[in-house]
């Protein structure tokens, strides 16, 4: 297993995930109310499995939150 350092939400984390799909599983993200972008480009959920996690890029993950 290769552990890689990546940047998620401006934080450096270590992950074994190689794709966004695996990263979502590793972070136990819920099925609904989550979206991801890589270097400010939105990656649709359907493309998570074929989008590789790249240490040189910034990953943004947002989720539903209470608000008015």
């Amino acid at each position: 297993m290769i552990i890689m350092k990546i940047r998620v939400n401006n934080k450096e984390i270590e992950t074994a995930a190689q794709t966004l799909r695996q990263l979502a599983d590793e972070l136990q993200l819920p099925d609904k109310g989550v979206a991801m972008a890589v270097d400010n480009a939105i990656v649709p959920r359907t493309a998570w499995a074929e989008t590789s996690v790249d240490a040189t890029k910034d990953i943004l993950i947002i989720k539903a939150f209470a608000g008015g």
Partner: protein, 259 residues
């Protein structure tokens, strides 16, 4: 009561509810239920990697309820367009409460950026409900740009000050070609009733319910106030003259014999 239709979707409740500031997800869920609402706002936030937290959405998912994700936290039109796309991906809906308020003190919406973002987002297929100043000209421009409704403020967000902008809300309601949802500042059921009596299409309430001593009971109180206000509007309120001249409701003559 007349059914409210926004962008082809029918709403049987004219009370829209925010999900912020509840002390628990259980209270939020019960308040939503008690309010009878069919439109509920949600926000987006970067996930906290150290704490996965509770998934608040699972407490709202109900096919009668339209989710209205907001763009809170964006500072200009460009950020709003990005947030809207993230929201469409996250929530699977094109509906959007567009809110652009770069000023953290009063959270007042930036009219120029709001209009610019509305124009762009409508072209991208979003159902845009912009939170905006109670500015009749701006509301006209937003409707022309394709906004599905306009959501002028009664007072700054979270202030509970009621309809400070009432004279302008009246003009907006009178002239608007799209539904008018009074958003922000509504701090008591009487404020909501007043907005509805004026002919507003709906009210969006959050703080007043969420931070009430008993949010569930308050949600129910708002439900009744919104219904009462709407019913009164549809029943046709008597005209209120600008001056203060009394108008008798009982006969003033033909009772006592006077010389």
């Amino acid at each position: 009561m007349e059914t409210l239709v926004i962008a082809g979707r029918a709403f049987h409740s004219r009370l829209f509810l925010g999900t912020g500031k509840y002390s628990s997800n259980d209270l939020m869920r019960e308040s939503i239920k008690a309010s009878g609402t069919e439109m509920v706002t949600v926000a987006m936030k970067r996930i906290d990697l150290s704490d996965s937290g509770d998934d608040m959405l699972q407490h709202i998912v109900d096919e009668r309820i339209q989710l209205l994700p907001n763009t809170s936290g964006v500072r200009d039109a460009e950020e709003a367009v990005f947030a809207a796309q993230m929201s469409r991906e996250a929530f699977g809906t094109e509906w959007l409460k567009l809110e652009i308020h770069p000023d953290p003190r009063y959270l007042l919406p930036d009219s120029t950026e709001t209009l610019k973002a509305t124009e762009r987002l409508v072209k991208m297929g979003f159902v845009v409900l912009p939170y905006c100043q109670a500015d009749p000209t701006l509301c006209k421009r937003l409707a022309e740009a394709g906004a599905a409704a306009v959501m002028p403020l009664g007072a700054p967000i979270g202030t509970n000050k009621g309809l400070q902008t009432r004279d302008f809300l009246r003009i907006i309601i009178e002239e608007s070609t799209v539904p008018v949802v009074v958003d922000a500042g509504i701090g008591a059921p009487s404020h909501a009733a007043e907005a509805m009596e004026m002919g507003a299409s709906a009210c969006l309430v959050n703080t007043a319910v969420a931070v009430a001593g008993d949010p569930v009971a308050m949600a129910s109180a708002f439900k009744m106030a919104v219904e009462a206000g709407r019913m009164a509007f549809e029943a046709g309120l008597p005209l209120q003259p600008a001056g203060m001249q009394a108008s008798a409701s009982s006969p003033l003559t033909e009772f006592l014999n006077r010389p």
